[in-house]
Amino acid sequence: MAFLDLTNLEKTFGANRVVKDFNLGIDKGEFVSLLGPSGCGKTTVLRMVAGFETPTSGSIRIDGQDVTDQRTNQRAIGMMFQAYALFPNMTVADNVAFGLKVKGISRAEREARVAEMLRLIGLPDLATRFPFQLSGGQQQRVALARALAPRPRVLLLDEPLSALDAKVRVSLRNEIRVIQRELGITTIFVTHDQEEAMSISDRIVVMNGGIAEQAGAPFEIYNNPRTRFVAGFVGTLNMFTATVESQQDGLLTVAGQRVLLPKGPITARDGDTVTLALRPEAIRLGRAEGREVVMPATIDEVHFLGSVIRVRARVAGTVVALDTFNRPDQPPPPVGSAAEISFAASDVILLPE
């Protein structure tokens, strides 16, 4: 049994079923992200784990103990909110010490722990500051220290980075991950940002309309999306309409080009129309070794991003995005020019209908 177990969780607000038959087991020390578009029920799941919402049905177990009916303040969880959750009347040190004080921990022990936490978040000199004297990033670090100080069993983070500017967001998310690893604390991280989720998670649960569509490591989710929604939500996808030539052999045609899927038989019937998808990095400009499918294209846009060049090209009536690495000896193609693209059939993701 996992350390944190969510079993058949359901939540309805009035007639609105917001979370549907949600199941998730999280191992001790694991970092799991709930990823999905706004309104899909991520926060509601997290708030049920925290005890702010009571599940309509289902159960929550932490470390083998059923906490479904426990109040928040009995659950020993740590929580970090989107923003503005520090106590404005207290200094940084008092904020971090709050949970320890509530627990009745002695003054000496409290001070030691606060100093330790402030060192952990890299702000040892700000103990006497008030929240309004801190930047957004500093405030969120203090909020993290405050949540971790009483040694919670589970750490819950609800889009803690979304109010910060892009640079701080990236550095702080890495810092959160480093601290989480160091303490080995079981963590649920809610975000609608797929890049954020992929870069720091052990495992991602992609949610849609209150349902967990797929759970898996970022690599797994990105490369083997099980549903059309997951494929579209995680990363960028180029989609082509294809016709099944031979269901038995896994042979398709796309705009007259033959694509022989290496995995063999597929579930569709001969003559059916199916959608196949390709990641931008799976498509190459020009011909290349091992990329047997070649299609003519027209260059629409070229975005030079530094190490990566993102090209939009029109292929068989649709616009595809493809990424190539920058090479000093190979300038990007001019806009409007004719070109060829190529990809390997083994990189094709066949989307379920």
């Binding site: 928040t72 503005y84 959750a85 106590f87 009347n89 709050f98 405050r146 949540a147």
Partner: protein
């Protein structure tokens, strides 16, 4: 041209307000024939009844403030947190004391809590004091509630509450350590308003027959010539000091924030 008219209007308003005050102050200084003196003030301050009634009203004001804070802060907090749809109703209730005259309230009290009732509060001095404190709290309710509610608007009540709960805090800790300190400035301005109301209140104290400052002023006014205006000036000063303190407290807290 419009500027001159505007200034004239302001001046006229000031005169309308200040002339009676100046006249009263001037009169209060004329107890000794032919010269200005503070004789009337000395008389007032020498009167032990002044100190007794003033002390009594001050004590009741303190009790009223404590009771008001204990009643209003949790109520306003709860309404904001859990019953936002009930806010108009609660606001209406807190405004009732402005509409219902104190005399109606106090007659209601006397009818409900007389010596032959189920709770004979008027039977003892202490019981009557409790009744009077409740009455004062009712009169101060519109101001206290508004002040606290405005204070609560400046903080994210729901998030702070949930943050505290996630750190293991119960309701009492949340109210005492997080909510109250964050609305302290608002509570203080409510408290000074309460003090000003209680010091000058006449109807309730007189009808409940308690030795408060208001009835003392009335008694003095009915029997003396120079002391009543002196007393009025003193009462005005107290009220204005209260107002000044409200300003100061608000200004101070803003200044603290601005320093960041």
């Amino acid at each position: 041209m419009t500027r001159i008219v505007a200034w004239a209007a302001v001046l006229l308003g000031c005169l309308y307000f200040l002339l009676p005050l100046a006249g009263m102050t001037e009169f209060s200084l004329k107890m000794r024939r032919g010269v200005y003196s503070f004789d009337a003030y000395v008389k007032v301050f020498e009167d032990p009844t002044f100190w007794a009634t003033f002390g009594y009203s001050l004590t009741l004001a303190a009790a009223t403030i404590v009771f008001g804070v204990l009643l209003v802060v949790p109520t306003a907090y709860w309404v904001r947190l859990k019953l936002p749809q009930a806010r108009p109703v609660v606001e209406f209730i807190t405004l009732l004391p402005l509409v219902i005259p104190a005399i109606v309230i106090v007659f209601g009290y006397i009818r409900l809590y007389n010596t032959s009732s189920f709770l004979p509060l008027t039977g003892s001095a202490f019981g009557t004091d409790i009744l009077l404190t409740m009455g004062y709290a009712t009169l101060a309710l519109p101001y206290m509630y508004r002040a606290v509610d405005t204070g609560l608007r400046t903080i994210d009540v729901a998030t702070l509450t949930e943050a505290a709960q996630s750190l293991g805090a119960g309701w009492f800790t949340i109210l005492a350590r997080i909510i109250l300190p964050n609305v302290l400035v608002a509570v203080l301005s409510g408290a000074f308003l309460t003090l000003a109301i209680v010091i000058g209140e006449f109807t309730m104290a007189a009808l409940l027959n308690r030795p408060a400052f208001g009835p003392f002023m009335q008694l003095l006014g009915a029997n003396r010539a120079y002391e009543p205006p002196a007393l009025a000036v003193i009462a005005f000063t107290i009220t204005w000091v209260c107002m000044g303190l409200i300003q100061l407290v608000t200004r101070f807290s803003k200044h603290e924030r601005a320093k960041a």
